[in-house]
């Protein structure tokens, strides 16, 4: 793992192993808060901040935490950072904190953070763990913004709160409802899978062509 390239880690976090579109983690907050791009950005940055901090601490303490109680220890560390983020948001961005509501404290149980702690930070040194936190955080934020972009643009006719299509546009209000979240996410996941499959297919062919020069 130590020899893993930084660019590969980023590619994994944003596309090939995207926490939302490929790993399907943290669905609850993803579906609930992506009604506006502002919410998505706020949520994405909060999760990224918590993810980086918890990855650092868990990776640093990975040799001290006993194996049997590791999940409990991770949760304690994560909830500590979530509390910090929550208080900071209440103090400096009260409006955003109000519109995200319960979903900020719920970052504690966001699967992405626990999954990265268990799958990566607990097995790797501090520096790769930071990069992993950044990459996965960006992947999560990008996914949220993409979803929220489609839902806000067509579902309320606005972007970041500004009207886009003018007053005559009749918004597809179903898109901002939970059903719209599921349908939009389904289409995005299908598109991402298509891209990934095509890439895999191309790599496979390239390998075989260089091997025996088969007819394809």
């Amino acid at each position: 793992m130590a020899g893993k390239k930084i660019s590969a880690q980023f590619k994994e976090g944003i596309l090939t192993n995207n926490p939302v579109f490929v790993q399907l983690l943290g669905m609850c907050s993803t579906l609930a808060i992506t009604t506006t791009v502002t919410n998505a950005l706020g949520m994405g940055l909060s999760v990224t901040a918590v993810l980086i901090c918890s990855n650092i601490l868990i990776s640093a303490l990975r040799k001290i935490i006993p194996n049997q109680i590791r999940i409990a220890s991770y949760i304690v560390i994560i909830s500590g950072f979530v509390t910090v983020v929550e208080m900071l948001m209440k103090a400096y961005t009260p409006e955003l904190s109000k519109s995200l509501g319960l979903f900020i404290p719920l970052i504690v149980v966001n699967c992405i953070i626990l999954a990265r702690a268990e799958a990566f930070a607990s097995k790797n040194a501090v520096l790769p763990s930071i990069i992993d936190g950044v990459a996965m955080g960006i992947g999560y934020t990008v996914a949220l913004i993409l979803l929220a972009f489609i839902r806000e643009l067509f579902g309320s006719g606005t972007l970041l709160g500004y009207s886009v299509f003018g007053d005559s546009y009749q918004p597809v209000s179903m898109l901002v409802s939970p059903a719209g979240a599921f349908i939009t996410l389904g289409f995005i996941i299908a598109a991402v899978q298509k891209i990934l499959l095509r890439k895999k297919d191309r790599d496979f062919r390239k390998q075989h062509e260089s091997g025996d020069g088969s007819d394809d």
Partner: protein, 329 residues
């Protein structure tokens, strides 16, 4: 070569019934209601239905071309979806409503699941619920026999003599302004295809005689609604009268004959069909009584659509000879 022995897997007996023939029967059965709609709401209603049919056919063909699947518009199932979608809209809608509805029905509710036979919910009802996005637009009903401009893309407010539907009147705790004769004949405000209870029932009976549908779903569906509304009328109204108003209003009869009976999204066994019909009826009444919307037919069928797989599993008949006579279950 008569001397050759043909060995093939079953089925060996074919009766020549194709998807296409069944679908043509369904279209014939819907025509009386359509003719009546033209009489009540003018040619605007026919135009809305035609746009809706064109939208369904074009979007299905386009989607199948894009995903490189064989184009199946010639089996007429998209045409039926189009007519039913038009039937579910008031004649006053701007034309982008049937276009958007057709796209949603054919692409999101049917195409991405694999096309005809693989969709889990009725595409038309899914589209109708999708169109609730524009609640005000699709809930503006014109008074019967008020002349509507036929070809304009969207009607001006001044063109529409708005009228409350029987269901919204009952939702507000009362009986509709229309007489029961109006209700069953269809001289009342409402969606294009659901105004005349009698003519829709005639079409339904045609389908029953042609054996396109079986009696199980319509009878249990309508029976459940009748029973529940007869036992629990709101205080101060005559139970029989209330029951008749409930049965004849909204899309209930249209849905019971034409949408709940969709082969793809309803159970296969007779017992399963009856469970399905009772479920639809109960949920319809619950939504009409306690829900936020005046009409519960679309939601009830969509909810029961999702349960079809389980109902089929539960009511699977035992294979002949598969279980010994005295065996324990």
């Amino acid at each position: 070569m008569p001397d050759l022995l043909t060995v093939s897997p079953s089925p060996h007996i074919r009766n020549g019934i194709t998807t296409r023939r069944i679908n043509i029967d369904v279209i014939i059965a819907m025509l009386p209601a359509l003719v009546w709609a033209v009489y009540v709401f003018g040619f605007r209603s026919l135009f809305v239905v035609l746009v809706s049919v064109a939208s369904c056919v074009i979007f299905e063909a386009l989607f199948e071309l894009v995903v490189r699947r064989p184009v199946t518009v010639l089996d007429f199932s998209a045409v039926i979806s189009g007519i039913l979608l038009g039937f579910n809209l008031p004649a006053t809608v701007p034309l982008w409503i049937p276009i958007a509805g057709g796209a949603f029905a054919m692409i999101v509710a049917k195409g991405v699941f694999g096309g005809l036979g693989k969709n889990i919910v009725n595409p038309v009802l899914a589209a109708r619920v999708f169109l609730f996005s524009w609640t005000r637009v699709i809930n503006t009903f014109s008074k019967p026999f008020s002349a509507l401009p036929v070809f304009s893309f969207s009607l001006e407010e001044a063109d529409i003599v708005a009228s409350a539907t029987p269901l919204s009147a009952m939702k507000n705790g009362g009986l509709p302004d229309f007489s029961l004769v109006d209700m069953f004949l269809g001289t009342k405000s409402g969606c294009i295809g659901e105004v005349s209870a009698i003519l829709i029932a005639v079409g339904g009976i045609y389908l029953l005689i042609r054996k396109v549908i079986s009696w199980h779903i319509p009878v249990t569906y309508l029976g459940t609604v009748m029973l529940l509304t007869f036992i629990f009328p709101p205080s101060g109204t005559d139970a029989l009268q209330f029951m008749l108003y409930q049965v004849s209003s909204g899309g209930l009869i249209l849905a019971a004959f034409f949408m709940a009976t969709d082969y793809v999204t309803s159970p296969t066994t007779p017992t399963g069909k009856m469970i399905f019909g009772i479920g639809c009826g109960a949920i319809t009444v619950f939504i009409r009584y306690f829900g936020g919307y005046p009409e519960g037919v679309s939601f009830s069928i969509l909810i029961m659509n999702l349960l079809v797989g389980y109902i089929d599993k539960l009511t699977k008949p035992k294979r002949f000879g598969g279980v010994p006579k005295n065996a324990k279950q």
